[in-house]
């Protein structure tokens, strides 16, 4: 049974209220817009890569608390990491949100395991994944991505909203 109380923890509510790295980067090297057409969530992500490292990253947009907190914590976590490490986290986060990765097992997600609870809420999985989805799109040069696009490698067929 879904335990959303566990999901709406202080840390998520706090990031929703005071999102970190909010805004756009004037000197971004990579940008993408992520949209979930089912609920209207959309975020703009700008990334500055230098020597294949995330030197700066910021986001803005309009979304639910789960999406906004996920984006806020994501930007904080991947900043300073190599592109390859960030891509690995994208994969791990997606696996955790869809129940394929055990948050108690080995991974590089750290505090991001607060989002593990979404795996029990199929309609909310996409809310948590959207920022990561968008990060992947920014890295690969797609200017926009959608949770409903089959072409996107991050597309997770996980129920409607």
């Amino acid at each position: 049974m879904a335990d959303s109380k566990q999901l709406y923890q202080e840390v998520i509510l706090d990031h929703n209220k005071k999102p970190r790295n909010w805004g756009t980067l004037a000197d971004a090297t990579h940008k993408a817009e992520g949209v979930n057409p089912l609920c209207g969530d959309h975020i703009h992500l700008s990334v500055k890569l230098s020597d294949d490292k995330v030197e700066a990253i910021s986001f803005e947009g309009e979304s639910c608390a789960i999406c906004k907190a996920s984006a806020s914590m994501m930007t904080g976590t991947v900043k300073g990491k190599s592109r390859a490490d960030a891509e690995q986290m994208v994969q791990e986060f997606r696996d955790m949100a869809t129940g394929k990765l055990d948050p108690a097992g080995p991974h590089h997600l750290g505090r991001l395991t607060v989002f593990a609870g979404v795996r029990d809420l199929p309609t909310r999985v996409k809310c948590a994944i959207l920022p990561w989805h968008t990060l992947h799109a920014a890295f690969t040069g797609s200017m926009s991505t959608s949770t409903e696009s089959d072409a996107d490698p991050m597309h997770a067929p996980i129920g409607g909203a």
Partner: protein, 419 residues
Amino acid sequence: MTAISSAVMQPVPAALDVARIRAEFPILKLRVNDKPLIFLDNAASSQMPQPVMARWIRYQSSQHANIHRAVHYLSETATAEYEAARRKLQAFINAGEEREIVFTSGTTESINLVAHGYGRKFIGKDDEIILTTLEHHSNIVPWQMLAGEKGAKIRVVPVNDRGELLLDEYRKLFSAKTKFVGVTQVSNALGTINPVREMIAFAHEHGVPVLVDGAQAAPHLKVDMQALDCDFYAFSGHKLCGPTGVGVLYGKAALLEKMQPFKGGGDMILSVTFEKTTYAPIPAKFEAGTPPIAAAITLGAAVDYLTAIGMDSIARHETDLLDYATDQVNRLPGVRIIGTAEKKAAVLSFAVEGVHPHDVGTLLNEEGVAIRTGHHCAQPVMQRFKVPATSRASFAFYNTMDEVDALVAAIRKVQKIFS
């Protein structure tokens, strides 16, 4: 019919015995997240009472075979029951003739049938189709597809800030190019009851036929085809305490007769050779293939069930629920009701300041309260009110004032969590 006409005689509809009614709905006894289920997503689909379920089981247990085909006992029984269901639906909406009732898979198919069967034959280049801002996507997209194919245009009736159609604007849209009107009787996103009777009369003055999307109206209001005088009326079974997979298209016989078929196949023909097919008379012309026999017969039982309770009593109880809920939600600081039309049916759309509807929905579910959050397949309405989505509570006759209180308490809890 007797129940309907006797209800008309009563100046005040009888109050419902909601406790007795609820006892007939097994699903309402569920607990969700250790709380009693409070089901307020009836505009999406309503629940089924035990007597209606029993009809499906009786059909499968003792009456099932394919219809209109064989001469054996079961086929004749199933055919008779299927046609009896058609007459029940005819009575439920007071259609003039039973052949004006076409069974479809639901409202969406009903509308697509008209867009194809009428639209592709009678709507052409530069013709105009009038729709309204309040339409569900199912009464927009089939017309856009038609317009795209034919080079026709869609004109849209705007709404005011309360979510009411602007009738003056509607009238101004008419010209010699106007060939069709599609309008919902009740807005699924806002609950607005549209003045369809007046709109139909005006369209008819211009010789324009009107399709009414009755998906949200048929469960809540007494609908009367002969009084409305609409040309087409579409609705779904599963919003009427019936099963999914069945719905109705009402069409005036003269129009249905001149339309082209929607789907080709068995049962919609008189004769077939490889040179020529002669179509069956209506409604069979539009019921190709094996129809949803069990679902249609069960829907017949569902409208019997609703008629026995009385659509007037149902409407009165739901109005009481909506008025009470509106009043209670209005008292909540930071909660805004979207859709404040003077005439509304059973739908309360709202926005909680600072909280996205999806978060509202997830946290209400934690309290056992089931509502719908999202754009409700009515994105033009969301755009008009400048919200990405809303939270929507929608009521049925089996809901109670206590459940409204639980909804309000749950909204307060959401606000506390996000404070």
